[in-house]
């Protein structure tokens, strides 16, 4: 393998990793605040793919992107209202089962409405531009993804550490009752969390599917699981952890594929999960023991 091939694979790896990181943040933030795994998150990401297909059929890309993001956010907020909020005082296991239900509901709904036949993902012309550096060529999306991921993560950390809404999120995730005594509305804060998680999943979806070219009703399930693993490996509840986990999985997957082990690459993600659960269950950035789910 020569230098340019390695560089090429590296670019592909960090690009895939960036998309994974954006999705993993949604898992980790919802876990941080509700102590539950939002199993429907991968399917929200899949629905974002369909939203883009249908809005691109009507609007130019610069209108379709905000429409897709708004639709994704709306879907996430509605799911929280209808399927999770009524269970706020129920045991956590009930909320988690509800999330699994929502996941299957979205997959089946997508199959029913859009059929199981993969639909072509529209190409956004400017993201598809090809760049040539010596013998390495890459489409713009490959370069944009990791950069955009880093920019969004920095912006997110600013929001969390330096705004009132961010302060409310930190307070609710640490001590829900005391946060309420401060006058913080737990419901509103949880809604903000879903808005941010779904917005990032929407961006991740556009970047991911632009490189994959098709969407089908189960498009979200494997990437969703991998991003959940990324969040666990990084230390669930930790945003930097989710980003590192996302890049780690994206890069290792790409490396394995390029070495010819493409059938093994998915299994590897789960081996990584098991190894972490055995030897470092709190993940890379996790401090306190994560609760059993």
């Amino acid at each position: 393998m020569n230098g340019s091939v390695i560089l090429q694979q590296f670019l592909t790896g960090i690009s895939l990793g960036g998309a994974y990181a954006l999705i993993a943040i949604g898992y980790t933030m919802v876990y941080g605040i509700l102590r539950m795994i939002n199993f429907a998150h991968g399917d929200i990401f899949m629905m974002a793919g369909y939203f883009m297909i249908f809005s691109m059929a009507v609007f130019p890309w610069y209108v379709s992107i905000p429409v897709t993001l708004a639709g994704t956010v709306l879907l996430g907020v509605v799911i929280e209202r209808v399927a999770y909020r009524p269970l706020r005082t129920a045991p956590r296991m009930s909320v988690m089962i509800s999330a699994i239900g929502v996941s299957y509901l979205l997959q089946n709904l997508a199959t029913y409405i859009f059929t199981a036949i993969p639909m072509a993902y529209p190409s956004i012309p400017f993201l598809k531009q090809i760049f040539q550096f010596g013998s390495v060529s890459a489409s713009l999306v490959t370069l944009v993804t990791p950069v955009l991921t880093i920019v969004l993560v920095i912006a997110l950390m600013q929001i969390i550490n330096h705004t009132k809404a961010g302060m409310a999120m930190r307070a609710v995730s640490k001590d829900m009752e005391t946060a309420q005594i401060m006058g913080i509305s737990v419901d509103k804060t949880i809604t903000y969390t879903f808005i941010i998680g779904c917005l990032l999943a929407g961006v991740g979806s556009i970047l991911y599917f632009t490189d994959r070219m098709t969407v089908y009703p189960y498009s979200g399930s494997l990437p969703g699981l991998k991003c959940f693993v990324a969040a666990v490996i990084g230390g669930i509840g930790s945003i930097p952890g989710a980003v590192v986990g996302g890049f780690l999985i994206g890069i290792s997957e790409t490396v394995l594929v390029s070495l010819g082990y493409s059938t093994f690459s998915d299994a590897f993600t789960f081996i990584l999960l098991i190894v972490f659960l055995l030897f470092r269950p709190t993940g890379i950035f996790g401090e306190k023991a994560t609760e059993k789910v």
Binding site: M167, R170, A171, K174, D175, E177, I181, M182, G183, I184
Partner: protein
């Protein structure tokens, strides 16, 4: 005035508060004393809306608060410094003060300075994570954080719990000072001696009921209170 009438609170089958009535007049210090498990914390947590009452009324200046959300109740001017202090341990002292004023939109600097005057130790620790403060310092911060929302009524749940006698005296001096500056105080205490000395009016709670009431001085002299709560 805060007026509690016929309040009943259950946890599943446990009747934690059974039909209690009491008043907290403006500008006064009122205390609930009683043994562990008597229902004092439940009473305060119900007033602030964290626990749902089975029946009764919680009336602030003519307005019914029962069934309102904690956010609304706090915005009406009632706050709670909870049992066990409950700092946000990863936030700095300054952030803990700011979060106490979460519902306010005006400038906080003047009030933050006022808290530093009231609790000088907090000024020197303002960049320190609250979780690293000592118990007494955390209690000071808990009181300061509660005051940041400009409450009409400050409820304190066992502020002296686990603190050295010297610190307890400091805390009670601060309670009196805050009260003199115009804040009404509703105080839960197991330390009956200190609480009765500070209080204008006191209620004794036993297994969810109010069994006795009177001015602080009256109860300090009462023989059954002396025997049960003052260890005399």
């Amino acid at each position: 005035m805060l007026k509690i009438t016929d309040l009943c609170v259950n946890y599943g089958g446990i009747e934690a508060v059974r039909n209690i009535s009491f008043e907290v007049p403006d500008g006064k210090i009122v205390t609930l004393i009683g043994a562990n498990g008597a229902g004092k914390s439940t009473t305060l947590r119900t007033i602030i809306g964290l626990v749902k009452a089975k029946e009764g009324s919680i009336n602030l200046d003519g307005e019914e608060l029962l069934g309102r959300s904690t956010t609304v109740i706090v915005s009406k001017g009632i706050t709670l410094s909870p049992e066990g202090r409950h700092m946000f341990p990863d936030m700095t002292v300054l952030e803990n003060l700011k979060i106490g004023a979460y519902l306010r939109t005006d400038d906080l600097n003047e009030d933050i300075e006022r808290m530093y005057e009231l609790f000088p130790i907090l000024k020197s620790r303002k960049w320190q994570a609250a979780g690293t403060l000592s118990g007494g310092e955390q209690q000071m911060l808990a009181v300061a954080r509660a005051l940041m929302c400009h409450p009409k009524i400050l409820m304190m749940d066992e502020p002296s719990l686990g603190l050295a006698p010297k610190i307890v005296r400091q805390i009670f001096e601060i309670i009196k000072k805050i009260n003199e500056q115009g804040t009404t105080i509703l105080l839960n205490e197991q330390n009956a001696n200190m609480a009765l000395q500070a209080a204008d009016y006191a209620y004794v709670m036993e297994t969810g009921r109010i069994t006795m009431s009177g001015t602080g001085k009256e109860l300090l002299r009462d023989s059954s209170v002396k025997k049960a709560y003052l260890g005399l």
